[in-house]
Amino acid sequence: MPALTHYLVLSALLFCLGLFAVVTRRNGVAILMGIELMLNAANVNLVAFNKFAAPGAMQGQVFALIVITLAACEAAVGLALVLAAYRSLETVYVDEINVMKW
């Protein structure tokens, strides 16, 4: 029977992997994937806390639903922006996108 701590450890590791991806990747699409990893880590936490720390109400699960909505929205706008930036700047690498100093 996995305990709360196990889920929290899984979530912490996923969050760090996402963080690492965001900090080191240069490709805008890959950075967005790292952010999705971080959001998923938070969702694991929310659902686990809902079961183990506050089973009275469904706050954690409802919040997780809203985070999924947000992730969909973010992917749509983010990828539209990457595409638009690619059309006008001809690159998807964030460190080559520097018309202005970064």
Binding site: M1, P2, L4, Y7, L8, V9, A12, L14, F15, C16, L17, G18, L19, V23, T24, R25, R26, N27, V29, A30, L32, M33, G34, L37, N40, N43, V47, A48, N50, K51, F52, A53, P55, G56, M58, Q59, Q61, L65, I66, I68, T69, A72, C73, E74, A75, A76, V77, L79, A80, V82, L83, A84, Y86, R87, S88, T91, V92, Y93, D95, E96
Partner: protein, 185 residues
């Protein structure tokens, strides 16, 4: 049984996470992300969150990853992880920083104790979630719909083609939006 299942999915999720970070081809990153999302869906089932698990598969794995794959295909010509231009943090430094950050989070997780009694049977069913969503959480639900409207307006405003006149960049042909994912082999 549950412990074994959790162990397998946790290992798969972490392996997928490493894949997202390490893969040189964005397509491989996207597939690794898919692995993470599906493993987590199983974990949600273990956590008595059936509805979240279903949405994880349908929305996250089904829609969002497909969107990622589609965009990667659209940008196919130049989307690998080329040689670094020197900007950004070096990988080793970033690794050390993220590792320290992770240790802090792990220490935090180790100190947490379960405070509540095990949930009542029937906890986390779709009825439960639905009642909360349309009862107490009605306003957040409506606000989320406004957020989706914003996302839609934004994606259309940024994604639609401009009239070529006055466009500083040469007009490039755009893949037809319909049937995109199916064509992206």
């Amino acid at each position: 049984m549950e412990a074994v299942l959790f162990g397998i999915t946790a290992v798969l999720a972490l392996a997928g996470g490493v894949g997202v970070v390490a893969a040189r081809q964005p397509v491989h990153s996207a597939l690794a992300l898919l692995l993470v999302l599906l493993s987590l869906a199983v974990d949600y089932l273990l956590l008595a969150a059936q509805f979240i698990a279903a949405l994880q598969v349908i929305v996250y794995a089904g829609a969002i990853v497909v969107l990622f794959v589609f965009i990667i295909m659209l940008l196919h010509t130049r989307s690998g992880e080329g040689p670094r231009a020197g900007a950004g943090l070096p990988r080793a430094g970033a690794g050390v920083l993220c590792g320290l950050f992770g240790l802090a989070l792990l220490a935090l997780a180790a100190g947490v104790r379960e405070t509540a009694p095990p949930p009542a049977p029937g906890f986390g069913t779709i009825q439960d979630v639905g009642r909360a969503l349309f009862g107490r959480y009605l306003l957040p639900f409506e606000a989320a719909s406004a957020l989706l409207l914003i996302g839609m307006v934004g994606a259309v405003a940024l994604g639609k083609r401009l009239r070529p006149a006055g466009d500083p960049s040469p007009g490039r042909p755009q893949a037809p939006p319909a049937g995109g994912p199916a064509r992206a082999r």
